[in-house]
Symmetry: C2
Subunit: 195 residues, 2 copies
């Protein structure tokens, strides 16, 4: 299954790399790719520059991962970008948004009437991007249909392991966490950062 990580200038490094690390832990099962709207280099807020392929290279029926970060503030109001992202998410089998990545996903309208969460300190701004979303103020991550949304930055690691557990069983998720020597916060409702 193809797993496409959406990058843009000002993405948050761990938002993107946490899920990538976890999903790659399944070996050949998921084929990872890094994409931006037009391709080329995407710069994270942590100064890392990633080579990306364009959105047009993303195949239907895969997993789309949307990180957050400062760059979401600008993109949230770019109608053409949001329309492209909506198309990708509609055609994906699963969509995982980390941190303020959920603001971009909310902008597509695809979360309307659905439960979702985001970075707790950015929640007010995120909510303004999707007034018809049933935002959860307390959740490490939320699953609603094919849409997974997580709390801030590091919560993407926990959500991705939760996604693996849902699809492949908890034993597989625990094995991946163990290989990463990661202490998985496996309860999606336990949120020590809720305000």
């Amino acid at each position: 299954m193809k797993c496409s990580i959406i990058l843009f200038d000002g993405f948050e490094l761990l938002d993107a790399c946490g899920p990538a690390e976890v999903l790659a832990g399944l070996g050949e099962e998921y084929e990872l790719g890094y994409h931006s709207s037009t391709g080329g280099v995407a710069h994270s807020s942590q100064k890392a520059s990633f080579a990306t392929d364009p959105f047009s290279a993303i195949e239907d029926g895969g997993i789309v991962i949307i990180p957050g970060g400062r760059g979401t503030r600008k993109l949230a109001s770019e109608a053409e970008y949001i329309a492209e992202l909506r198309g990708l998410c509609e055609r994906a089998e699963f969509v995982l948004a980390v941190c303020t990545g959920s603001a971009l996903l909310a902008r597509t309208g695809l979360l309307n009437g659905r439960k979702a969460t985001s970075n707790k300190k950015a929640m007010k701004w995120v909510q303004a991007n999707g007034t018809e979303v049933d935002w959860q103020q307390q959740a490490r991550w939320v699953v609603d249909g094919k849409y997974y949304t997580s709390s801030g930055i590091s919560a993407g690691l926990d959500m991705s392991l939760g996604f693996i557990a849902d699809r492949h069983g908890e034993r597989v998720a625990k094995k991946i966490a163990e290989n990463m020597e990661y202490i998985w916060n496996s309860d999606k409702d336990a949120d020590p950062f809720a305000l």
Copy 2:
């Protein structure tokens, strides 16, 4: 302070990005850069391709971060690479090695007579790269002088927060962890993955 992250083909994505995310959390305090021996693109095992500057662009007196990953197996026996790395580490104020990155650091000889740790499942191979190192079989991370070494992959997050705590105080480290919504495993001696 300059913070130089050492990349190479087959580096482990989270080994590099965990510390980068944490150190960038201090804002302008640390200036992050991504480097490989000759510069150009470095490919992680998780298919991410990073732009890098050459080792020659690394200034003395900064922080050097060495991730692990499959690529360390080949590099550990490349004498010229290890000599270059030794020079960088000698001239750095601090060196942080994550996971099997400690095998590369051990190969330089700079850990001889010092305490260090690494990925627990790779420990036998790592030990063979530094028979005069006082390897710790049970530790989330180890500090010996200017050298920090951590357990596998995700332990780099905890060690980097520990490094911040040592330099800037625990309050600052906790604030960064909170901003990342990260549940910091702050006890460097608590190692649930020890064999």
